[in-house]
């Protein structure tokens, strides 16, 4: 069995284990949870707090609003929300990736820029996302590019790219500077210019550093897109659905879990997309010396 199919098997096994644990908790623990000296140490396990797995899955096929026969099903709503958010997250990943790669190239080329910019790149990630989201939406609202007025989804994409750019910039810089000095001197001795050295040495050598960075960035972009949807109030995505469904969680608990399930699947799909990138660049994977 190849390592890839083993990964698939263990991923599925972990998912099954999670379902088993969930149902086991419902079976073994008291419905009211466990309270020690007035503090609840284990959650409530009744059907309102932890609905059965099959109830959640069943809810996917039922209409979004109970009783109304004409509306779309919960499953359709979750799927369309997840696709919308996936699009924004991948757009953000692409935008952040391009910016991150460009920044890394400039930092590699000019060490002064690296010394000047890297602390700010790191600092940028310590600003809470919740604080930036309204700012981006606010600035964006005042922008019209070539007659195209800013849309709320564009804010979401920008915020997702803001999170995705960081691991890519750092991973790319590390990859670009990974060739040992003997390799760099060999290229210099061959009278290779900066561009040729970049294409023939630095970029191939950076692949083992960049692929894990893109995987991190994809996950960050999904989280960023969901949080940005929530904090900017953007409609149409899974973030909005989570909030909407959570508000009615007391009356319809399993519906909230369908949205959370949708967000989890979304993350897996994003990670899988990066896996394809890894397969495409396999030739360069073993190049860390």
């Amino acid at each position: 069995m190849g390592s890839r199919s083993r990964t698939v098997v263990t991923t599925v096994a972990a998912f099954v284990l999670l379902i088993v644990l969930w149902e086991l908790a419902k079976l073994v623990l008291p419905p009211g949870g466990v309270t020690v000296g007035g503090t609840r140490v284990l959650p409530r396990t009744d059907n309102a707090a932890m609905p059965h797995v099959w109830t959640v899955l069943g809810r996917l096929t039922e209409p979004e609003v109970a009783g109304a026969a004409t509306t779309r099903t919960v499953g359709a709503a979750v799927a369309s929300g997840a696709l919308f958010t996936l699009g924004l997250a991948m757009g953000g990943l692409l935008l952040g990736g391009v910016l991150g790669v460009l920044l890394a190239l400039v930092m590699q080329r000019f060490r002064l820029v690296e010394r000047a910019a890297l602390p700010y790149v790191v600092a940028s990630q310590t600003v809470p996302l919740i604080a930036i989201a309204p700012l981006v939406a606010g600035w964006g609202g005042n922008i019209a590019i070539l007659g195209w007025s800013w849309q709320p989804w564009a804010s979401v994409m920008v915020i997702a790219s803001y999170l995705a750019f960081f691991p890519i910039a750092v991973g790319m810089l590390r990859g670009l500077t990974s060739p040992v000095s003997a390799d760099v001197e060999l290229f210099r001795a061959m009278a290779s210019g900066w561009w040729t050295t970049l294409v023939r040495l630095r970029l191939p050598a950076s692949v083992p550093h960049v692929v894990p960075a893109v995987r991190l960035a994809a996950a960050a972009a999904v989280v960023g897109a969901i949080v940005a949807e929530i904090s900017t109030g953007t409609r149409g995505g899974i973030g909005r659905l989570i909030i909407e469904y959570a508000q009615s969680a007391t009356g319809d608990p399993s519906r909230m879990y369908t949205a959370i399930l949708g967000a989890a699947v979304l993350g897996l799909v994003a990670a899988g997309a990066v896996g394809l990138l890894d397969v495409g660049l396999r030739r360069y994977r073993g190049s860390v010396r």
Binding site: V180, A182, D183, E185, L186, F187, R188, A189, M190, A191, S192, T196, R200, L201, P204, V207, R283, Y284, G286, S287, R289
Partner: protein, 261 residues
């Protein structure tokens, strides 16, 4: 004919460290010259000055009659380091092609040249292999083939066999002599090994500890006869057992001791 390398009063300082002090040396066309000396005597620095990887702080260096920089840009020399430094994402043949690829030589011509060179170093059946599938000695042979790809008149080698075991090393020395004999390139060769310097070289340049100066130049025992092209490993073995070989080793040893006094 123009000297492959001509150094006149070459001086190199790294801040307060005086690495090279007034080096005068000429390497003739097709000549094999070794640099030997204690660690830190500047022999690698001298090679790097010729390769235009370091700028001398004094004196003048000419490589094939040109400035080292021009020689580097024109790919007039090939270079090999202690580590073979093969790129793992390229096949063996693609590694040999690298200098030609960097200079935009077409694919067909590149392939043909790589095939010739791999045949020359006896590795043509490994053309499609990955470098990691090769032994250390084979990797170093690929590195030599790569250095020879642009048909340079000068080969610069910085302890290329330093990481190999003794048996492989002796085999590689015989291989190198045969390859160099066939290409007719001059060689400037940095080594720590006295027998290696003696068996390979026309002349062995003995250097003193820092600041690096040339203490003495000892004639080596490079086995060259009229037909260098069919130099057999046995010829090199004969040299290693000859009286001239041992007396040259003694001469180098004494020159090294003199440099320390």
């Amino acid at each position: 004919m123009t000297a492959a390398v001509a150094l006149a009063g070459v001086d190199k300082r790294f801040g307060d460290v005086h690495a090279l002090d007034g080096i005068d040396l000429e390497v003739g066309p097709g000549e094999f010259v070794s640099l030997i000396g204690p660690s830190g005597c500047g022999k690698s620095t001298l090679l790097r000055v010729v390769a235009d990887l370091e700028q001398p702080t004094g004196g003048a260096a000419l490589v094939g009659g040109k400035s080292p920089q021009q020689a580097r840009l024109d790919q007039d020399y090939g270079i090999a380091f202690q580590q073979a430094g093969l790129l793992e994402w390229r096949t063996v043949a693609e590694n040999v092609e690298l200098p030609l690829h960097v200079h935009g030589v077409g694919k067909v011509e590149r392939r043909a040249r790589a095939t010739d060179l791999l045949t020359l170093v006896g590795l043509h059946e490994f053309a499609g292999s990955r470098p990691s599938e090769l032994s250390g000695g084979m990797q170093q042979r690929v590195a030599i083939a790569r250095a020879l790809a642009p048909s340079p008149r000068l080969l610069l080698m910085d302890e290329p066999f330093g990481a190999l075991d003794e048996m492989t090393r002796e085999r590689m020395q015989a291989e190198l002599l045969r390859i160099i004999g066939e290409t007719g390139a001059a060689v400037l060769f940095v080594t720590h090994s006295i027998p290696e310097a003696v068996v390979l070289s026309d002349r062995v340049v003995v250097m003193s500890p820092r600041p690096g100066r040339i203490t003495e130049i000892v004639p080596g025992c490079r086995p060259v006869d009229g037909a260098a092209t069919d130099l057999a490993p046995a010829d090199v073995e004969d040299v290693r057992e000859s009286g001239a070989f041992f007396s040259a080793i003694t001469a180098v040893r004494e020159a090294l001791r003199k440099g320390h006094e």
